[in-house]
């Protein structure tokens, strides 16, 4: 009897070409689009648009401009040598943030008065995130490409304290210039070594947003499939099926199994695209990956069936399918990474299935443990299925 309900779902989907395309083509298309958005949002490909105006025109500022322009993590546009023009470019949105080099970066000679702040950063409050990124990148490029300039400013500071004299300062500046000319590395510019938590970089980087996209897509797809429960109720089919020997329970279980299998295929398609486009490695992790796909799909199927069983009308079910899933996905990190959210919202995310789905995929494909997330997903799936069964049994004829 459960197989009969499964067959109805399969045949109905096969006969509806549009639904079929949406079920099995849309996952890869959605993933490709969202992956492009997410890869920027998680910081992997944030390339702010930096405006540069060199008012000073000194050798040091010219070196900085060249170094910034050559940096692959920035998109640089040269602006006219005018602070007002740079400000206007930021205001007009032509660039996200602008650096105006109005003085020489090297320390002023002994006795000369040093101008305050040789670099002006022009920021747009609407793009506040660009400011710390630009400052960080400026500091990094200064350290990497102009270490002699950085050091000369430090030495000038020491000279002002009276610990060294002008001759010693000149000697040090000369030594730094020689070291730069010989292209010998400065120790402080190699102060930080980067280490990743992930052995396979693609998995850790992409599994977050592949999991996030899979969670939201599976919830939407499951809601779409579970809507048949409402349609069958409105057409009188549910009433008729309830009068059968197996009751409506076998129909709900059949739908649950179909939606779970459909979800596994959809998650497979999403991660297949992730493997092809973003180098995610599934092979060595396939048992854990498959279990995660099954549990996330079962969770989506269970919750969708419970929502449709609880909905009194088709409109109510549609409302949950759109606003409910959107809300869960937004809070759960399927739209924006949770680490970018306020702390209280990050905590609230643990009450959404999306957050646990993401955890499970990250754990299954990375080095972490997916077991706690699997437990939560299994509990949600069973609770959803149980609620759906109880609701269809209790609903008056």
């Amino acid at each position: 009897m459960i197989g009969a309900a499964f067959r109805v779902m399969a045949l109905t989907l096969l006969r509806d070409r549009a639904a079929l395309v949406m079920a099995f083509v849309l996952p890869t298309v959605i993933f490709a689009i969202f992956a492009a958005i997410f890869s920027g949002a998680v910081g992997d490909r944030i390339r702010i648009h930096l405006g540069l105006a060199d008012l000073a025109g000194t050798p040091a500022t010219a070196r900085l401009v060249s170094a910034l322009a050559a940096d692959t993590s920035l998109r640089v546009t040269r602006l006219p040598a005018d602070l007002a023009a740079a400000t206007e470019a930021v205001r007009a949105g032509e660039v996200d943030v602008a650096l105006v080099l109005r003085g020489d970066l090297a320390a002023a000679p002994s006795g000369a008065s040093a101008p305050d702040h040789p670099v002006v950063l022009v920021e747009n409050p609407a793009k506040a995130l660009a400011t710390p990124i630009a400052l960080g990148q400026l500091q990094r490029v200064l350290n990497e490409a102009l270490p002699d300039v950085v050091l000369s400013r430090i030495v000038a500071d020491v000279e002002r304290t009276g610990k060294i004299g002008p001759d010693e300062r000149a000697f040090l500046d000369e030594a730094f210039a020689e070291q730069r000319a010989k292209k010998e590395p400065f120790s402080f510019s190699a102060l930080v070594e980067r280490q990743s938590t992930a052995a396979a970089v693609g998995n850790a980087r992409v599994s977050y947003y592949a999991g996030a996209i899979a969670a939201v897509f599976l919830l939407f797809a499951a809601m779409q499939g579970a809507l048949s429960l409402v349609e069958e109720r409105e057409s009188g089919l549910a009433d008729r099926l309830s009068a059968g020997p197996g009751g409506l329970g076998v129909i709900v279980v059949g739908k649950f199994l179909f939606l779970t299998l459909q979800g596994v295929v959809q998650a497979g398609l999403i991660f297949g695209a992730a493997a092809l486009l973003h180098g995610v490695t599934i092979g060595p992790h396939w048992p854990a990956f498959l279990l995660t796909c099954g549990l996330v799909s079962a969770m989506a199927a269970g919750l969708a069936l419970a929502a449709c069983a609880a909905a009194a009308t088709r409109q109510q079910a549609h409302l949950f399918a759109t606003f409910g899933v959107l809300l869960l996905s937004a809070v759960g990190g399927s739209m924006v990474p949770r680490f970018l959210m306020p702390p209280w919202l990050q905590q609230a995310g643990w009450f959404t299935p999306n957050a646990w789905a993401i955890e499970a995929f990250q754990g299954a494909l990375g080095e972490g443990s997916a077991v706690p997330a699997w437990g939560v997903l299994a509990a949600l799936a069973l609770a959803g299925l149980g609620a759906a069964l109880a609701l269809v049994a209790r609903r008056p004829a």
Partner: protein, 326 residues
């Protein structure tokens, strides 16, 4: 021998108002019982109780001695055909029947044969591969009924099985039901169609306000009317004016539909006493002379409709009952 279906003292209230009130009903194998009554009389509610979809507030329902509400075996013995076309529109006729065969608990190897047999019984073999959603209303009705019969239940409940179908489809459905009766299936059919009930039913039961107000073998009930005068109905060419309406009422007629007036009693002569009953031609001439736009006088032996009016309309009216929500 115990009847196949036995309803005893059946009662059900919905939001405090009685829908069924102390109803007794029995049905034997190979018997067709027609349930007649106005909307809200409790016909569909009775069927849902027999199908095990509702819990009776009082009394019992037994199918082959078992409670269909609690025993799957009892539900397996009932084929419920609801008023709605309760089928999957994107599945073919044969696929729909196959799914219902599975849900009825038929073993896998027997399903193909059961579907073929049902296609033949309902005379729908020609559309077996067509999607249900693309069929005409008449074919959909036949498939709807066939889906309820696929498990070969000994008791079939039909809720207005020919609603909205044309004459040919209706004849095909009636032929199917007669074949079922010959095979020993008991059929409980709720209908508003008197002609259908007359053609099919062995017994009729009139429901009003959740009670059976008259019930018995159709032939015996009709025999009781045979001694009475024939029924007469007037068909008017246009809506009568006030003077014509007064003339019609004086002649003993009352409106039945917009352009149809039915004889309800003896007419009155000018002295307000009972008038002599005129034959059809004389009645037509007199009414036309009085300015009534009569186009036709119909005379027929009293049938089920007369029984219905006698059973339901001439008795004290009960408060309209509510059907439980679906």
């Amino acid at each position: 021998m115990a009847p196949l279906l036995a309803c005893t003292g059946l009662g059900l209230a919905y939001r405090g108002r009685p829908v069924l009130d102390g109803l007794d009903l029995a049905l034997d194998p190979g018997e067709i019982l027609a349930l007649l009554g106005p909307n809200g009389a409790g016909k569909t509610t009775l069927m849902r109780l027999v199908a095990g979809r509702l819990v009776p507030g009082a009394g019992t329902v037994r199918v082959s001695g078992r409670d269909p509400r609690t025993e799957a075996d009892a539900r397996r013995r009932v084929g419920w055909v609801p008023q709605e076309i309760a089928l999957w529109p994107r599945l073919s006729v044969a696929e729909n029947l196959g799914v219902f065969a599975s849900l009825a608990g038929l073993p896998r190897r027997g399903r193909r044969g059961a579907v073929a047999a049902m296609l033949a019984l309902a005379d729908i073999e020609a559309v077996g591969a067509s999607l249900v959603g693309q069929l005409s209303g008449g074919y959909q009705r036949r498939v709807n009924i066939a889906a309820g019969l696929i498990g070969q239940p000994p008791l079939v409940l039909l809720d207005e099985p020919t609603q909205g179908v044309d004459r040919a489809a209706r004849a095909a459905i009636h032929a199917m039901l007669r074949r079922l009766r010959r095979a020993g299936t008991a059929i409980l059919v709720a209908t508003h169609d008197f002609a259908e009930a007359e053609r099919l039913a062995d017994r009729v039961a009139f429901l009003r306000g959740g009670r059976i107000v008259r019930e018995g073998p159709l032939a015996a009930l009709l025999a009781g009317l045979a001694a009475g005068p024939p029924e007469r109905e007037l068909v008017l060419a246009e809506i009568p004016d006030d003077a014509a309406e007064r003339a019609l009422r004086r002649a003993g007629f009352a409106p039945d539909a917009e352009l149809a007036w039915r004889e309800t009693g003896p007419g009155r002569d000018d002295g307000a006493g009972p008038a002599q009953r005129l034959d059809g031609a004389a009645l037509l001439g007199r009414l036309r002379a009085e300015g009534v736009p009569v186009s036709e006088v119909r005379v027929r032996a009293p049938g089920l409709e007369a029984l219905y009016r006698d059973a339901l309309e001439t008795r004290a009216r009960a408060a309209p009952a509510l059907e439980p929500a679906r």
